[in-house]
């Protein structure tokens, strides 16, 4: 049997082969035609720029001098980055911002998720309310909070004065101490709705029976929360943590609109420093070197996350 079968198959296929390969050819052409519109733009607008960024990062080039004046400069850009407060401070600020914003947004998101999980009349209304900040354009949010945080008679400082008697409230975005915390507050407020609704989906997938078992064991609210809710939400927490870090790391709009990295370098973040080097000073090579560093960090982070997920799935399979 085993020796006959291959022969048989070959005999069957042979006469068809020319027809088949031309058909295959036609199929391939069709497939390439289908992906072409998307692929062409993708190559031109994403892939080519990624490669070009690497190349540019080893050059010294001011855009205003024209493309003929691109000068190869080796790793000079990377060496200069280390002495540039716009780069080093941007790394520190981005890290601080991420460390504060991600966990606080998640904690508040979980709090709101627990609220939204309650049986209420018109459940759609609280969901709409909480989600509005998330879908609002960052520029609009910047405009609103710049006014709210206004140092002179802005509603927040008036509130601080009237309620707590703080006579010397912070000047917020105008203060190098308070500008970054103020940006954090705005970002947290914007992100709560998204985190809450993701957590809500997680909460609703926890089987009711687990709570019943815990209740029979005499577990109180806190024990049930600690030993049923939190552990079963851990995949959601992991997901929100990862996406949160990735988004915080890219923060740009709020900084570009509200503070332009200032006062001084107190609120500059990596994405804004890239923009500033490239589009305020036209130092394209230098900006590209920062971009490469940002890319390396993002790739490293994604790789670590991927490895953790791999290990988790293997653990679950075993």
């Amino acid at each position: 049997m085993a020796t006959i079968r291959p022969n048989l198959r070959r005999a069957e296929i042979k006469p068809e082969q020319p027809k088949r390969s031309s058909l295959r050819m036609k199929d391939n052409v069709a497939a390439y035609l289908l992906i072409f519109p998307n692929m062409a733009v993708f190559f031109l607008w994403v892939l080519l720029p990624v490669i070009f960024t690497f190349f540019l990062s080893f050059t010294e080039w001011n855009f205003l001098e024209g493309i003929d004046n691109v000068r190869f400069s080796g790793v000079d850009n990377y060496r200069n980055l280390m002495d540039d407060p716009w780069f080093t401070d941007s790394m520190i600020n981005t890290t601080l911002y991420t460390i504060v914003v991600v966990p606080v947004t998640m904690a508040l998101g979980l709090f709101f998720a627990l609220l939204l999980d309650k049986q209420v009349y018109l459940p759609v209304i609280p969901r709409i309310l909480i989600f509005i900040p998330y879908i609002t354009s960052p520029v609009a949010i910047a405009a609103i909070w710049m006014t709210l945080f206004s140092p002179n008679w802005g509603p927040i400082n008036v509130f601080l004065f009237d309620t707590f008697g703080i006579e010397d409230p912070p000047t917020w975005f105008a203060s190098s101490t308070w500008a970054l915390p103020a940006l954090m507050i705005v970002t947290i407020w914007k992100g709560i709705g998204y985190n809450a609704l993701i957590y809500l989906a997680g909460l609703q997938s926890i089987p009711e029976s687990l709570y019943e078992v815990a209740a029979i064991d005499g577990a109180g609210w806190w024990t049930r929360f600690k030993s049923v809710t939190l552990p079963l939400l851990s995949p959601t927490t992991f997901f929100l943590g990862i996406t949160g870090v990735m988004t915080s790391f890219r923060v740009f709009e709020l900084v570009a609109v509200i503070t332009q990295g200032g006062p001084g370098t107190s609120t500059t973040v990596i994405a804004y420093s890239i923009y500033r080097a490239g589009f305020s000073f036209y130092r394209m090579g230098y900006a590209s070197a920062m971009a490469v560093i940002m890319l390396i960090i993002v790739i490293t982070f994604t790789y670590v996350q991927w490895r953790i997920q791999q290990r988790q799935t293997r653990f679950m399979r075993d």
Binding site: V120, I144, V257
Partner: protein, 304 residues
């Protein structure tokens, strides 16, 4: 016998009453919880309410002390100012123009990537061709690249192609959205082969299969994607910022940021009115289609 019956009726009556009082108790409890949840969620939108209320105030009232939440006299001057309709006060940008600009880049910015992504995702999900997996892998890898990494070369590319400072610079790049291809491919892979075979037997080619089988079967995913693309394009700030410097081309987010820089002319009132006008279209669509919005943002697992 009858006494017994009466007794029974009384018992039923009593039970009903007890049930009724319990129901009332439940309802009151639920109303209480509702109130609590509403109050907490309402706190999230106080900044918006304050903005609406202040945009209807006269300029000197906005930062008046003692503060007043509602305007003493409602005025629409601020809205006239930012729409370029006020007879004296003219800011450097008019939102009326920006509305139009945003609309003409958002419509192709939603339809364009949807069409190209449907075609490409169909090929990736349903056809076999050389280098397919490698090409798809490229899409996946570049999905994590932050936009800011690419702004320098993209700006140069736009210059080289001669589309810098035109709306084309906001339309052409978005004809390919890697995430759209990725999401649609997932969805297309789950369509049963039988449906496609049946259409092919009826003589449908690839485009026929896409039109009559693939698109209808994945309409929910396509709708979710359309919403995401709409929000992304409407709110997009980074790309217009590097691609446009002519004020008459500004889209809404860019015009709003120009109003922020132009506080002297626009004044706080104008800025707040502009903010409300900038938010309004998306807000209206969101309230109407809130279910679809939340589903597309929460269940596709992507951050805007």
């Amino acid at each position: 016998m009858s006494g017994n019956n009466a007794h029974f009726a009384q018992f039923i009556q009593h039970r009903k009453q007890k049930n009724w009082t319990r129901n009332i108790g439940d309802k009151l409890r639920k109303a209480g919880v509702t109130l609590l949840v509403f109050v907490f969620c309402f706190m999230m939108v106080i900044p918006f309410i304050w903005t609406i209320s202040s945009s209807l105030k006269a300029e000197r009232e906005i930062f008046a002390y003692p503060p007043q939440f509602f305007p003493t006299e409602v005025t629409f001057d601020n809205y006239l100012i930012v729409m370029g309709q006020h007879e004296r006060i003219r800011p450097q940008v008019s939102l009326a123009r920006a509305y139009w600009n945003s609309i003409i880049v958002t419509i192709p910015g939603v339809i364009g990537p949807l069409v190209t992504a449907i075609l490409a995702a169909y090929a990736f999900a349903r056809l076999k061709f050389p280098a397919r997996d490698f090409l798809f892998f490229l899409y996946l890898v570049t999905m994590i690249v932050p936009i800011q990494v690419l702004i320098v070369p993209q700006f140069m590319l736009a210059n080289a192609l001669g589309i810098y400072n035109t709306h084309w610079a906001l339309i052409i790049p978005y004809l390919s959205v890697a995430y759209a291809v990725f999401l649609l491919r997932q969805s297309f892979m789950s369509i049963p082969q039988d449906l496609i075979d049946a259409a092919k037997i009826d003589g449908a080619g690839h485009l026929g299969v896409i039109r009559h089988v693939i698109v209808p079967a994945s309409s929910a995913t396509i709708a979710a994607l359309a919403i995401l693309l709409f929000v992304w394009r409407w709110n997009d700030f980074t790309h217009p910022l590097i691609m446009l410097n002519r004020r008459d081309l500004y889209t809404i987010p860019l015009a709003l940021s120009a109003l922020i820089q132009d506080r002297e002319n626009a004044r706080t009132g104008g800025l707040l009115a502009g903010t409300i006008l900038a938010i309004l279209p998306l807000f209206v669509v969101f309230v109407i289609a809130n279910r679809q919005f939340i589903r597309s943002m929460v269940h596709t697992g992507v951050k805007g």
